[in-house]
């Protein structure tokens, strides 16, 4: 269960960011922001020739003592970032992958909506519900 989920646009501004509001959202915003550097590093590391082979799932971007940050980038350079609690060790890699897959699917649903202009904040209720389902239940 994620603690914070963010969708970053190609130009590196957030399209959607939501966190479990227990620990102050500012900290998560900052974490996501710094993780963008790591994302850029990972995707620029692969040369042009390997662009198609580049996998969308970036894996663990960097761990800190409190939490781990995972990244995923789409072919249109939209980035998804998930922050999970470090103490939650039961989360396996393919669970994170499936979370990203679900995010990607609902993101494309939002994109398919002709009333959504790419670059706007994501205000879709369906997307919200998917994200909420993935977030940690605030206790």
């Amino acid at each position: 269960m994620a603690v914070c989920i963010a969708v970053i646009a190609k130009e590196n501004y957030p399209l959607y960011i939501r966190s479990v509001p227990t620990q102050g959202e500012l900290k998560f915003h900052y974490t996501v922001h710094t993780s963008l550097d790591v994302v850029e590093e990972k995707i620029s590391g692969v040369g042009k020739a390997l662009a198609d082979q580049r996998e969308l799932y970036l894996g663990l971007l960097y761990p800190t003592e409190d939490y781990k940050v995972y990244g995923y980038v789409t072919n249109s350079k939209v980035k998804f970032v998930i922050v999970v609690d470090s103490s939650n060790t039961s989360l396996r890699d393919n669970e994170i992958r499936s979370m990203f897959r679900k995010l990607h699917n609902s993101f494309t649903d939002v994109m398919c909506n002709p009333f959504y202009n790419p670059g706007d904040q994501i205000q879709s209720k369906a997307f919200d519900s998917i994200v909420s389902a993935m977030m940690v239940q605030a206790c």
């Binding site: 190609k10 649903d109 398919c112 002709p114 009333f115």
Partner: protein, 627 residues
């Protein structure tokens, strides 16, 4: 007190308590306009809605009680459904077990009663409240029912008169037994009392039955008014559907094809609703998440917009009556269901079809898909309410089409739009009227067609084939001519009528638009006229003209042309002349073609430039596209 008859023609045996039996048979009676023993689906649906249970609970109920399997509500299913509703309203899960026990009666609101009026009676003094429908006397239910009247007698309770089905067909019409359901509380109160009345024997029933008749309860229609369809904002009525159909046709003439997202967006933006709401409506109505609207999705979206404009709050999820799989009285429901299934079965095809519809609206793709529709119709019968299947289908479709759908919507759109100007559809009205210009037009059209659209091989090749062989057979003498004739039959015509041609200005615009299919098909139009100095309708035929000049007036058919050439064959001295004429004609034709070629090249450049500008505009508008 005692457990009444098992509820169930459907085979599910559930014991009902007395009061429940009374209540249910009353409801049952209300739901049966024709007294055949089968509640009408419409009435049942109203009743369900009136119970004010959430949509998915109602679906569950439908499923559990077996109506989904059967496709309709039989007597047994109806009773089970009622019990389940009572359970749900009491907060119990919708399961068969939960209905085993005694439950309070289900509460229905929003149901008016009407036609007690028909019964001559002295309305019991008390009531303006709804009362339990007197339950038409039906043999199994009779017994408990008649207790009912007894109690009413005692309680001065106004019970609606028991209505025998034949008697009150109109009673049920859209007035769901006045949901006396408010009366259910009254009934609850009597629960204890009624249970004490254990023994109503059957024999008592008849007199009391009649007695009850005298005591009908013409419920004031002041009861919750406006029930039935007008009450439910989430049901599409027939005239609404008509209207939506017309609107759909105005956007997309083929009812089976899709409306693209951008088209729909422009259309719905005209409704002046705020964009976030339109976005939400889109999310609700695009069930297959493909970025385009089928006819049913369009109806849903339109209906939601209409509802919103009438200040109805938009639901979070699609109400069951709006779901595409919902079987209503509408005929189009089958289409919707079949469209959903069709989409599942032909998902890859649909995506490609979307692209086709974008530039050419190829409906032929969809027509084969109509075939499965016939098979869907029987399926529709079986599944009256099928909200789950569309969802499953959606999920599966979504997963399957996800890799394809978003790529095709935006980028191809732009590309195809850029492609469209260069290849206009063939215009059928390509100047058949004027003789002189005709030949030229055909020539240009054909050659233009070949060069521009590359649909055909060089014009001479296709149509002349049959005549070519004929010509070729005898034309050994003038091989050159034959070859030319075979390959460029129209040239012959063309050159022959060159004088005519020069008189008429070359029809440049024809080049672009002149791709009429008619021109391709050899129209057998007055060939004689053509030969006699008028441009022939179709250059195709004309291949033999050079020879035919000296020959008898050729008919439009190749055979006649062949005969013409044959006639020339017999005149050796003429051959030489013919050859020379052919050479001249061919040279002229060459000149014309080169001119044509240059014109086409210029047009191509112009179009290229247009395309480049469009693409650059597109890039400007799309900051997020992939690098």
């Amino acid at each position: 007190m005692d457990q009444g008859a098992a509820a169930g023609t459907g085979g599910t045996f559930i014991s009902l308590s007395e009061t429940e039996q009374r209540c249910y048979s009353g409801l049952h009676a209300l739901c049966q306009p024709d007294g055949t023993g089968t509640p009408a689906a419409g009435k049942v649906a109203e009743l369900f809605r009136a119970s004010q249970l959430p949509a998915d609970t109602l679906h569950q109920i439908t499923e559990v009680c077996g109506a989904k399997r059967l496709g309709y509500f039989g007597c047994g299913q109806f009773y089970v459904a009622l019990k389940l509703m009572a359970a749900a309203q009491a907060g119990l899960p919708v399961r068969l077990e939960s209905v085993a026990g005694e439950l309070p009666l289900p509460v229905f609101v929003g149901i008016t009663r009407d036609p007690e009026m028909r019964y001559p009676t002295h309305p019991p003094t008390n009531e303006s409240q709804p009362h339990i429908a007197g339950s038409a006397p039906r043999p199994p239910a009779d017994r408990p029912v008649f207790r009912h009247p007894e109690s009413s007698m005692d309680e001065q309770e106004a019970w609606s008169p028991p209505r025998s089905p034949p008697r009150s067909p109109s009673a049920y019409h859209s007035y769901p037994y006045s949901a006396q359901r408010n009366g259910t509380d009254a009934l609850l109160a009597y629960d204890g009392k009624l249970s004490s009345r254990s023994s109503v024997s059957q024999e008592n029933s008849s007199p009391s039955h009649y007695f009850v008749r005298l005591q009908p309860e013409p419920l004031p229609i002041t009861q919750v008014s406006s029930v039935d369809y007008s009450d439910d904002p989430w049901r599409i009525t027939e005239e609404q559907r008509e209207y939506y159909t017309n609107q759909f046709k105005s956007l997309q003439p083929d009812l089976n094809a899709l409306i693209l997202g951008t088209t729909a967006k422009n259309f719905f933006t005209k409704s002046k609703l705020p964009i976030p709401e339109l976005s939400h409506i889109w999310e609700l109505s695009d069930v297959d998440k493909d970025g385009a609207l089928t006819f049913s999705e369009f109806c849903i979206a339109f209906h939601l917009i209409v509802a919103r404009k009438n200040s109805y709050v938009l639901p979070e999820t699609l109400p069951p009556t709006l779901r595409p799989g919902y079987v209503d009285q509408g005929v189009t429901q089958s289409e919707e269901l079949s469209s959903v299934d069709r989409q599942v079965t032909s998902r890859p095809g649909v995506n490609t079809c979307k692209q086709d519809t974008r530039d050419e609206r190829r409906q032929s793709e969809f027509s084969p898909k109509r075939l499965p529709d016939a098979s869907e119709k029987p399926i529709r019968r079986v599944s009256t309410l099928k909200p789950d299947s569309p969802q499953e289908l959606d999920a599966s479709m979504k997963s399957r089409t996800r890799p394809r759908s978003h790529s095709s919507t935006s980028i191809d759109d732009a590309m195809k739009k850029a492609e469209e100007p260069p290849t206009p559809p063939p215009r059928p009205q390509k100047t058949h009227s004027r003789a002189s210009s005709l030949d030229l037009n055909k020539l240009f059209q054909q050659s233009g067609q070949a060069s521009k659209s590359s649909w055909l091989p060089p014009p001479p090749a296709l149509p002349p084939r049959p005549p070519a062989t004929q010509i070729f057979s005898f034309r050994h003498g003038s091989n050159k001519n034959t070859q030319k004739a075979v390959q460029q039959p129209n040239f012959a015509d063309f050159s022959r009528f060159r004088e005519v041609e020069t008189s008429t200005p070359p029809q440049r615009p024809d080049l672009r638009g002149g791709l009429s299919t008619e021109d391709l098909a050899p129209p057998k139009t007055d060939p004689s006229a053509a030969l006699q100095g008028h441009a022939p309708q179709k250059p195709v035929r004309r291949k033999l003209h050079p020879d035919s000049q000296s020959a008898t007036p050729p008919s439009g058919t190749p055979s006649s042309a062949a005969t013409l050439t044959k006639s020339t064959q017999r005149l050796p001295p003429k051959q030489k002349r013919a050859i020379q004429m052919a050479i001249r004609k061919n040279r002229e034709t060459n000149a014309v073609l080169t001119r044509l070629n240059s014109e086409l090249q210029q047009q191509l450049k112009v179009v290229h430039r247009e395309r480049v500008t469009l693409e650059s505009q597109l890039d400007l508008l799309r900051p997020v596209t992939s690098a």
